[in-house]
Point group: C2
Chain length 275, copies 2
């Protein structure tokens, strides 16, 4: 169900939110966007996409994203920020990156990334594509008014919706069809943000509100740019689950699948929580 | 089966391999150790442990490791190297780090890390502790002579030994009991190295030798220091599996369990392969 990009609005809020203006060599200016606000500060997924955008727009870029790690080092205030990029190493087919986001001269977030020239090789998928009802058969979940960013995603939960009657079960797993609202052709930038759009697993496993915050997030991009472009604005099947909660932190891992069963990305994060 | 550290040799080869000599502010000198050599250059797990050691020895360190991401940016030559540390941000209970390993003035590897003051909270484990035979009932696998580091680990495979008759199955999963050789009391440094001691999944899934190399590795440490110390030199149960192979890269995820069923760490890496 690929579409021509002319089917989509000229400037999507996501593109406005991750936009960067050059500010000298290896430096950019950006600012948070109210459409992707979280309860406090901006949605982390859009910060990840912004940091990746600084890599993808860099004149020395080699290849496509293979991995990205984002550290949410401190609260990000709504408003402007500076981004600085540094090429750590360029090889023949791979390149390593460091990117910082600064506010008031202090690092509030930073990212590392690997980009690479992809080439065809032997390929197979070991993870199992879940058998679930199609997206169209499930009603979208209501947005959470105090977290504006949730209004920018269509989420159709197969199971594991936070606060659902079954959410105090033994499992922290959620499976949902998810896509940008309004629809936007999939690329690495939107995929980077989508990988952080899973609600914190603690709210699925134990439906009690506590302060939480992602501390570090690593995403592995398995799809090449052509595979992503072929998705157009189709919903992706996301699967997320935690492995361990304790001592104020938990981890959660996610898979992002195409409707056709291609594993586009896997993502892993560690999250702070209180109590 | 905790033991007093006096049961162990005074200086373990691992500690010699990750040793750092101060070389001015935020800088250290180290060198590769032949006991942990790989086919070319050093075993990546020991590089991860060395980069973590620079954080743990830093005078401004806050707390214990929660996560570490290592980028293997270029081949590391046997011999000496310089390490530079940078505190990216210090908060009340968490701290973010950037560490570089340089040879000939160029970055060959780098790491980010989160350390934090852990405190008791609600805790549970969602991942399932595998039911497997005890370590003592399984013979250790032979070492691989051309990869010296394999002689520094005792590996007792439950299943998924590379090159085993079942290794061309549909699964890239291995389960094995693993520990340092000679025995060494477990700590964050040895655990960081152990998380990279799983053979590349492509050799389990498809028993054909091809050039491979880990590109980036992220480990989440779930255990606190006391939990690790209580392990002494007991074997850990490691579980590793890939999710997706294609376009010259695959990912693999690992779990490290104590004999008693505690999930001590989870780890995720992306690996380059040829063909």
């Amino acid at each position: 169900m690929s579409r021509d990009s002319s089917d989509f609005p000229a400037v999507h809020d996501l593109d406005a939110a991750i936009a960067l203006a050059p500010d000298g060599e290896d430096a950019w200016r950006g600012q948070t966007h109210p459409a992707y606000g979280n309860m406090v500060g901006p949605f982390g997924g859009v910060i990840a996409a912004t940091l990746l955008n600084a890599v993808l727009r860099h004149p020395e870029l080699l290849g496509e994203p293979v991995s990205q790690t984002v550290h949410f080092a401190a609260p990000i205030a709504d408003g402007g920020f500076t981004i600085r990029t540094r090429v750590m190493r360029t090889n023949r087919t791979t390149q390593h990156w460091h990117v910082e986001l600064l506010q008031d001269g202090e690092v509030a977030a930073f990212s590392t990334a690997v980009t690479a020239l992809r080439r065809p090789t032997w390929a197979t998928t070991d993870a199992a594509f879940p058998e679930v009802p199609p997206a169209g058969s499930i009603a979208p979940a209501p947005h959470i008014a105090r977290a504006a960013w949730t209004g920018r995603y269509e989420m159709r939960f197969v199971d594991g919706a936070p606060g659902a009657p079954d959410s105090a079960s033994d499992s922290s797993q959620s499976r949902l069809w998810i896509r940008d609202l309004p629809e936007r052709p999939l690329d690495y930038l939107s995929l980077a943000a989508l990988c952080d759009a899973f609600y914190p697993r603690i709210f699925v496993r134990r439906p009690k509100w506590v302060p939480i915050g992602t501390v570090a997030l690593t995403t592995f991009f398995h799809a090449d740019a052509a595979q992503l472009a072929a998705q157009g604005g189709a919903p992706l099947l996301g699967v997320a689950r935690a492995q361990r909660f304790g001592n104020g932190f938990f981890d959660q891992s996610a898979e992002m699948w195409s409707e056709g069963g291609e594993l586009l990305a896997t993502s892993h994060q560690v999250v702070y929580f209180k109590e």
